[in-house]
């Protein structure tokens, strides 16, 4: 009912040709959710340190195979709108899909921004009633912008304290040095929870600090929150593959993993000892992993997830031997605030309502105190961030299983500046979007590249080594068992075309690799390859943002006509694929 009402109002606003990037009475009403139940959980995730409103294009390629085919989150474009019952062209459709992106982005304006999010959070809290709501942050909050990098995440800790985050878990938070992570957690006024981060036995032996020396938990595994006369347990699940997908050298004492058996033991222990009315997992597993975990573990009422940046408008109900678990994923870049209203009875969830609210900056007035804070933390860096490097004629974006246009610019910059035949660039799912006609600023480049291991390289690799890298990343994305997936998208390539059969076994997926001139890549031959974000050891080249900036200053105008996206084999018709050209 509530969702339909929201849609109706957005529809009215759009039909009336109202400029939705200016707050009006109808827009305000769109954010009035009717009260339901006795506890409200607010959830945002993967904002990647975007303090100000941005544009973010959702993917047109998010493939799933086997049991995952056609299932959320592997549904894009019109297929997703159909599943969600959302009309194309509406503000909500724009928030959820890439469809008609440029036109609708201009019509509905930028999304997210902490000042606008703050207004929405406060409104949702007021709607739930005093002391009856929680604000959960799924992580990937303290990284992703120039200011987060320069302040080592501290600008975001301050913003989250002002936003009123009650509980959080993490992933990219762990890409600062371990003592910086601990400082940030100490400065964070909410609770940082992670059942699956343990101090290694070796480190414990050497006297490393732990939340619980006996269990080895590096951080508090869960917390109990009281909402009115009801109590909710929130368990933290950090990204299980942090020391594999990101450098372990920053956090040598900590070991991760999914630890599904430990989740079950913890849920059983909490249910027996604390007797809460609901148990929720605040997860950074990624949605496919969450769906599998929900099918294995009993006693979880909900898994509120992130990592895979899937803005899913409807929750998925997963059956397990103990009942059903609600699985949600709340998108990225500050675009969405999820609202899970629970009707709690003694020790159980009687009923629930779930709404994924897009945060349209133009429809939510900025919170003054938060806006002032954001301006203040950015002030020392504004000049550097604002530098106009070039103007783009093409929409620049990253998100999707294969190369986005911004990735292509990064790869082209690497090949050009580093004098390489082939470029490799990581398939991160964060990075904001630039509209045609906009200036590409240093801030945009930093939004796409700002990590704590940004060094570039150019070195010789054999064709066999290049194939091995592509196969390895493809298996992280397309392994038929979600527990063996790491999230993230396929490594982006420049100067290289290939065919991929995502359904094939590891080692067989990548075929027919060719250079830009059409020459076949041979296993024994050596090629000059440039890249960045090396996880194993630090590379020696300039930071990637300097390489891309140099390229853009020189180009002045950006136009991407051709993407090095692979030709797909054995994919056929798949609801996770739309408007794709190889």
């Amino acid at each position: 009912m509530d969702r339909r009402e929201f849609l109706r109002l957005l529809g009215i606003a759009a039909a009336a040709g109202m400029p939705l990037n200016r707050a009006g009475a109808a827009d305000e009403a769109a954010y009035d959710l009717p009260a339901f139940g006795n506890a409200r959980l607010l959830h945002f995730t993967d904002c990647h340190a975007q303090l100000n409103p941005i544009y973010f294009r959702e993917p047109n390629v998010n493939l799933g195979f086997g049991s995952m085919k056609g299932q959320r989150p592997h549904v894009v474009g019109k297929a997703l709108l159909e599943q969600a019952g959302v009309k194309a062209g509406t503000a909500r459709a724009h928030a959820l899909t890439y469809l008609d992106f440029e036109t609708l982005a201009r019509k509905y304006g930028a999304v997210g921004g902490f000042a606008h999010l703050k207004t929405l959070v406060d409104r949702m809290r007021a709607g739930a009633g005093e002391g009856r709501s929680l604000l959960l942050d799924g992580g990937d909050t303290w990284q992703g912008s120039g200011t987060a990098y320069w302040t080592r995440g501290k600008d975001m800790v301050g913003a989250c304290n002002r936003l009123g985050v009650d509980v959080m878990t993490g992933h990219w938070e762990f890409t600062y040095q371990d003592e910086e992570v601990l400082e940030n957690i100490a400065a964070f006024e909410g609770e940082f929870v992670a059942q699956n981060v343990r101090v290694s036995e070796e480190a414990l032996f050497e006297g490393a600090a732990a939340f619980d020396e006996d269990s080895g938990h590096a951080f508090r595994p869960y917390t109990i929150k009281t909402l009115g006369d009801r109590r909710i347990a929130v368990i933290g699940q950090a990204f299980p593959y942090t020391p594999i997908a990101n450098p372990s050298r920053f956090i040598p004492d900590w070991t991760f993993g999914i630890r599904d058996r430990d989740v079950q033991e913890l849920v059983d222990e909490i249910r027996a000892k604390e007797k809460p009315d609901a148990v929720v997992l605040l997860s950074h597993n990624g949605m496919d992993v969450d769906l599998k975990l929900a099918s294995l573990v009993t006693g979880l009422d909900a898994i509120m997830g992130g990592h895979t940046h899937d803005g899913m408008p409807i929750p998925t109900l997963v059956s397990n031997p103990g009942g059903k678990t609600i699985v949600t994923n709340a998108g990225s870049n500050g675009k969405f605030l999820a609202v899970l209203d629970l009707d709690l009875d003694e020790g159980r969830v009687r009923d629930f309502r779930y709404t994924l609210l897009p945060v349209f900056a133009g429809m939510l007035p900025a919170d003054k105190a938060m806006a002032d804070y954001v301006a203040e933390v950015r002030a020392p860096y504004e000049d550097r961030l604002a530098e106009k490097l070039a103007v783009t004629e093409t929409t620049l974006y990253r998100r999707g299983n294969f190369n986005g246009t911004f990735d292509q610019v990064i790869c082209d910059a690497l090949m050009s500046v580093k004098d390489a035949q082939i470029a490799l660039s990581p398939g991160f799912r964060w990075g904001t979007t630039v509209l045609p006609g906009q200036a590409v600023t240093m801030e945009h480049v930093l939004d796409q590249t700002c990590i704590t291991y940004p060094e570039t390289y150019a070195r010789d690799m054999t064709g066999e080594e290049i194939k091995l890298i592509l196969e390895d990343v493809a298996d992280n994305l397309f392994n038929s068992d979600p527990f063996y997936q790491q999230g993230g998208d396929m490594v982006r390539v420049g100067g290289l075309d290939y065919v991929i059969d995502p359904t094939a076994a590891m080692g067989q997926r990548i075929q027919d690799m060719r250079l830009a001139d059409g020459a076949a890549v041979s296993a024994g031959k050596t090629y000059r390859v440039s890249g960045w974000a090396t996880v194993g050891a630090q590379s020696d080249g300039a930071p990637i943002w300097d390489v891309v900036a140099e390229y853009l200053r020189d180009k002045k105008t950006v136009r991407v006509d051709q993407l090095n996206t692979p030709e797909l084999k054995n994919v056929g018709s798949n609801p996770g694929l739309s408007d794709y050209t190889a």
């Binding site: 032996f205 006297g207 020396e213 990204f239 299980p240 593959y241 942090t242 020391p243 594999i244 997908a245 990101n246 372990s248 070991t255 991760f256 993993g257 999914i258 058996r261 990592h307 895979t308 940046h309 990581p426 398939g427 991160f428 799912r429 964060w430 091995l468 890298i469 390895d472 990343v473 298996d475 992280n476 392994n479 527990f483 063996y484 790491q486 999230g487 993230g488 998208d489 490594v491 590891m506 974000a533 090396t534 996880v535 194993g536």
Partner: protein, 148 residues
């Protein structure tokens, strides 16, 4: 209390060092450890390659190894009469990674670190009352990076 635990651990390690006897004095199953296939190792160690899959064995290992050079593995079982526990990494050049002989009073739970060259099934084989039982789990070894 923390100090106490560390002292106990250190004492235990010292004890283990003292108790380590030269290989020649023990029944070191060299042929099993140098076998180049899982079947040969099984044959050498247990005299058979036939095992019964068992839910009574719990094999704890990561889905994806954080470091292939030191993959933590724990095998525990509720089976009675356990004589030995073997850990086999099918795809390793020498698949037999560890073999523990247990006395009758020992709690059948062992932990160790194994080295894995590439993605492989890890098989826990338990010999109990003269019979062989097993369970396995695929552990992925990846070159890492590119996580979103």
């Amino acid at each position: 209390m923390l100090t106490t635990r560390r002292l106990i651990l250190k004492a235990a390690l010292a004890g283990a060092a003292l108790a380590a006897l030269p290989r020649t004095l023990l029944a070191w199953p060299e042929a099993a450890f140098t076998s180049d296939s899982a079947d040969k190792a099984m044959q050498e160690l247990f005299g058979s390659t036939a095992t019964t899959a068992s839910d009574a064995i719990t094999l704890t290992a990561p889905d994806i190894a954080e470091n292939g050079a030191v993959v933590p593995v724990t095998v525990a079982t509720s089976l009675e009469g356990v004589e030995s526990i073997g850990i086999i990494v099918s795809e390793n050049p020498s698949p037999l990674a560890a073999s523990f002989d247990l006395t009758a009073d020992a709690v059948p739970e062992v932990s160790t670190r194994i080295k894995m060259g590439k993605t492989s099934d890890v098989v826990a084989v338990v010999k109990a009352n003269g019979k062989l039982y097993s369970t396995s789990k695929n552990v992925k070894v990846t070159i890492g990076g590119c996580g979103g």
